[in-house]
């Protein structure tokens, strides 16, 4: 039987983009755009990506890396303010084990002609299966990938 534990942790990341808030927001709101920078990745096979980008809507990503265990991200949207803010909760699962549940706030602030994005994640890391360090590093990588997607 698994030893149950919860570690709560919060982190915040800021990232500036040359694109205006409407374009950065759209990269989260448009499933076709988001899939490219968020779900697709080198060595990553996406088995399912379904999105209902509405308050109360779900987003589900099922994926795996190489021969690794199937992973999934189950997201619920709580707050959507066009071009300004998105708040969602999500649970990550590897195989049969839920490894974390988190609340994420993304704020899109106009900065000159560009955007200052601030992501705040308040997480509950479960049963010793996940920790905050890799999560923060993972989001930094994703926000870099988003920068490249916005330039293409």
């Amino acid at each position: 039987m698994a030893e149950r534990s919860v570690v709560h942790a919060t982190f915040s990341i800021q990232r500036a983009y040359d694109s205006p808030p409407a374009k950065v927001f759209n990269a989260f709101a448009d499933p076709a755009v988001k899939r490219r920078w968020f779900a697709e990745g080198e060595g990553c096979q996406v088995d399912e990506y379904s999105v209902d980008f509405n308050v109360g809507g779900y987003e589900r990503t099922r994926f795996r890396f190489g021969d690794g265990a199937p992973m999934r991200n189950d997201t619920t949207y709580h707050d959507i303010v066009p071009n300004e803010r998105i708040i969602f909760s999500y649970t990550m699962t590897i195989g049969e084990n839920r490894i974390s549940s988190s609340l994420a706030t993304i704020e899109f602030n106009k900065a000159g002609a560009g955007t200052e994005l601030r992501l705040t994640e308040q997480g509950a890391f479960l049963d010793g299966l996940d920790t905050v360090g890799p999560r923060e590093a993972g989001w930094k990588d994703l926000l870099e990938t988003l920068a490249r997607a916005l330039q293409s």
Binding site: R4, V6, H8, T10, V55, G56, Y58, D74, T76, H78, D79, V81, E84, R85, I87, S89, T91, R98, S101, S102, L103, T105, E107, T120, Q122, G123, A124, L126
Partner: protein, 153 residues
């Protein structure tokens, strides 16, 4: 136009109940039991209640407070480990239109002799100038006291 802002905060509340973890868990899992203790303060009137207690399921509770303000709770279950843990996220509205917060709540149940220690952790985002001023923590403590009364039935 609304000035947008977010204030993030976390609090933890602990209670020890003279009941087994299985019994405390049931007070969250059984819709009839939860409807007895998950209610507002004196003068609060229930408007709607629906619960689907399973991972991926939703809960919706709205009621009118004595002041006339209608509060609405919309919750989503993320993690359920029978007798041990419940994690849900929820957002709150006042008067249907004003969203005041989004939160992640973790309920941990730990046996302590024949009793149960409940550790409630809320990680919240308070929105657009809504000044909680500690009322969420106070309100949660009030609910956990009502849970204690339910367990003494």
């Amino acid at each position: 136009m609304i000035e947008r802002s977010v204030v993030h905060g976390t609090f933890t509340i602990e209670r020890v109940y003279d009941a087994t973890p299985a019994r405390v868990f049931r007070a969250w899992a059984d819709p009839d039991a939860k409807a007895r203790w998950f209610v507002g303060p004196a003068g609060w009137q229930l408007l709607e209640r629906a619960i689907d207690f399973r991972v991926g399921g939703k809960e919706h509770v709205s009621g009118r407070m004595a002041s006339g303000t209608v509060s609405t709770f919309d919750s989503y279950y993320h993690d359920i480990v029978p007798d041990q843990r419940i994690i849900y996220s929820y957002h709150m509205h006042l008067d249907h239109t004003r969203k005041i917060s989004v939160s992640l709540a973790t309920v941990e149940l730990k046996p302590e002799g024949r009793a149960t220690r409940l550790v409630f952790t809320e990680q919240g985002a308070f929105l657009d100038g809504y000044d909680d001023a500690g009322s969420r923590e106070h309100g949660t403590g009030f609910l956990l006291n009502q849970l204690g009364a339910e367990l003494q039935r």
